[in-house]
């Protein structure tokens, strides 16, 4: 059965060529997203989540960034062959993004109304006044009174700013929305409000979503699928059930074991030992092997994706070993 893919990326490679060496931020990443689905992209700092997101918008800063990609299709549109002018038409219209820090994501010298309207005006054939009217609608949609459209970002609190950013991103009903840690900078109660809003809006707009986060709790709450990233690659991907309950990759296991369990405060944390590898100097083979409790010599060889089921794959050569399983129990 052919999947209805809104995004199809094959072999995405992004390097940053800096003075201190070549940062291998993303290394041959493959990603498929089905229409209307929400996928969580989970990983620790420096895993390459933001880089991946930016390269989907073709916004990697060059220099120092160098982007190579085998295939990148957005709803069938070949993103790699577009001219800069055509890309501008796609950004904000078919694909849009919410950035991590709402405090800095808005231009301080324009009113929020203008910032939302600009997007509408750019992509839809409407007058600027009409665009502004629709901007006000958008504001109300995200729970901000419309009359505040003429206010400047500094007059809003963090949560409200993030709502404005969401309004900008959704203003033209994009097919794919990338949210890069949209709630990390917010307080729990506000985070809950924003997540709730995103959930509702996504339902309403039928937008596909890539939710970048390092919080597995958030993923559990609003995503259909999870992709776990480590050192520039997806090491495990599957439905929520697949990854949370039938965890396969040792790194995913380590992540779960590091999180304090709110229901069992006596449980000891078992952190992953060691540190993220230096992205300028990644280890051979599986980048996780120096930290991996199940490591053996084969881990130093190049890794391939291994399908566990239709929806679930893992990138770990340990499964070549007969009878290999990780310690975490399947639920």
């Amino acid at each position: 059965m052919k999947k209805d893919l809104v995004l199809n990326v094959k072999n995405l490679v992004v390097r940053y060529e800096t003075e201190d060496g070549i940062v291998k931020a993303v290394n041959g990443l493959n990603l498929e997203i089905e229409r209307g689905k929400a996928i969580g992209l989970v990983g620790e700092t420096g895993a390459g989540k933001t880089t991946t997101a930016l390269s989907l918008l073709r916004l990697i800063p060059e220099p120092p960034g160098v982007e190579e990609c085998g295939l990148m299709e957005l709803d069938g549109l070949d993103m790699l062959s577009l001219t800069p002018k055509e890309l501008e038409k796609v950004r904000g219209k078919d694909i849009s993004m919410i950035f991590q820090d709402p405090m800095t994501a808005l231009n301080p010298v324009f009113t929020v109304g203008d910032q939302i309207a600009e997007s509408i005006h750019l992509h839809e054939d409407v007058s600027y006044t009409e665009a502004q009217r629709r901007a006000i609608d958008m504001l109300e949609l995200v729970g901000i009174p419309g009359e505040r459209a003429s206010d400047y970002p500094h007059q809003f609190s963090g949560g409200m700013k993030q709502r404005v950013v969401i309004a900008i991103a959704l203003a033209c009903r994009p097919k794919l929305l990338i949210a890069d840690e949209p709630t990390t900078a917010l307080d729990v109660t506000i985070q809950a409000q924003v997540l709730e809003l995103m959930k509702n809006l996504r339902k309403k707009y039928q937008t596909s979503l890539i939710m970048i986060t390092h919080d597995l709790g958030i993923v559990a709450e609003i995503c259909d699928e999870v992709a776990v990233m480590y050192a520039g690659n997806i090491v495990e991907k599957g439905t929520l059930e697949d990854v949370f309950n039938r965890t396969k990759h040792p790194y995913t296991e380590g992540l779960f074991n590091s999180i304090p369990n709110i229901y069992d405060r006596k449980a000891m944390l078992t952190p992953i030992k060691g540190l993220m590898p230096d992205p300028t100097n990644l280890p051979e083979g599986c980048p996780f092997h120096p930290r991996c409790p199940y490591m053996d010599e084969d881990c130093k060889k190049p890794q391939t994706d291994r399908a566990i089921s239709d929806t679930h794959f893992v990138r770990c050569s340990a499964y070549d070993r007969p009878g290999f399983h990780i310690n975490r129990k399947e639920k």
Partner: protein, 309 residues
Amino acid sequence: MIRYIIKRFLMMIPVLLAVSFVVYFLMDLAPGDIVGMMAPPDATEVEIEMMRKEMGLDGTLPERYFRYMKNLLKGDLGMSLSMKRPVIDIFFERFPATLKLAFGSIIVAMIISIPLGIAAATHHRSWLDGASMVTAMLGLSMPSFWLGLLLIILFSLKLGWLPSGGSDGFLSIILPAITLGAAQAGNLTRITRSSMLEVIRQDYLRTARAKGVSEKKVIYKHALKNALIPIITIFGSTLGNALGGAVAIETVFSWPGVGRLTVSAINSRDMTLATGCIIMFTIFFTLTMLLVDIAYAYVDPRIKAQYSK
């Protein structure tokens, strides 16, 4: 906002008193006085005392300063000792020329520096960046009066295109404005570049790009308005420097401005004129700074919010 402006005006008063104090005392410390210069060679002691009194220079320093202050507080800058006319009149006769020159130079500086700075920032680390920076540096490093002399030799002596001095007509302002503008252009280019570089890194530009705003608009609409904020601050002090720094250039180009007037007042120990001119300079400088602050609030709503509180 209005209250803020009024507050700023009130704050000027102590500053001006302090400036008058500093200048008046410095001038008094200077050896020689105007009476000695102006008295005819055969004047007797009595006549000299008479002159002193006539000029209001009798009494001890504190007495004199107190007298001066009393008038100053009434807004009276006194009479020029050497010209025997109200300082304020003399100042304003000459001030327009200086203002013209200052603005001329700033226009020159802006025309050069803002595009150059933006180009350098958007082509960070490229040859264009390097070339712009070296140009800016050259402008900053040339003694302006020397540049003025070189320009005179070239444009009025060798080529005969432009007048070498004077202040009538548009042509005569070109050389002095370029001379004075060169150094400012250097400074302004650097500020524009660094402020632009700072802004270019900001997240909100990424947001704008992600919205599909074209690169040109990102730079000239979203980035420039933010980058303007530090440029505007510098604009204030640039104008201030132009007002004061024009002294040497006014000499080179026989420009009838206040800078030269002040220097000659200091040299001839015309205390009231010198102090008065410097006070007026300070007032204008402070006013410019105030204007700058207002302009600031205009481009940066965050600041505006602060003022209105």
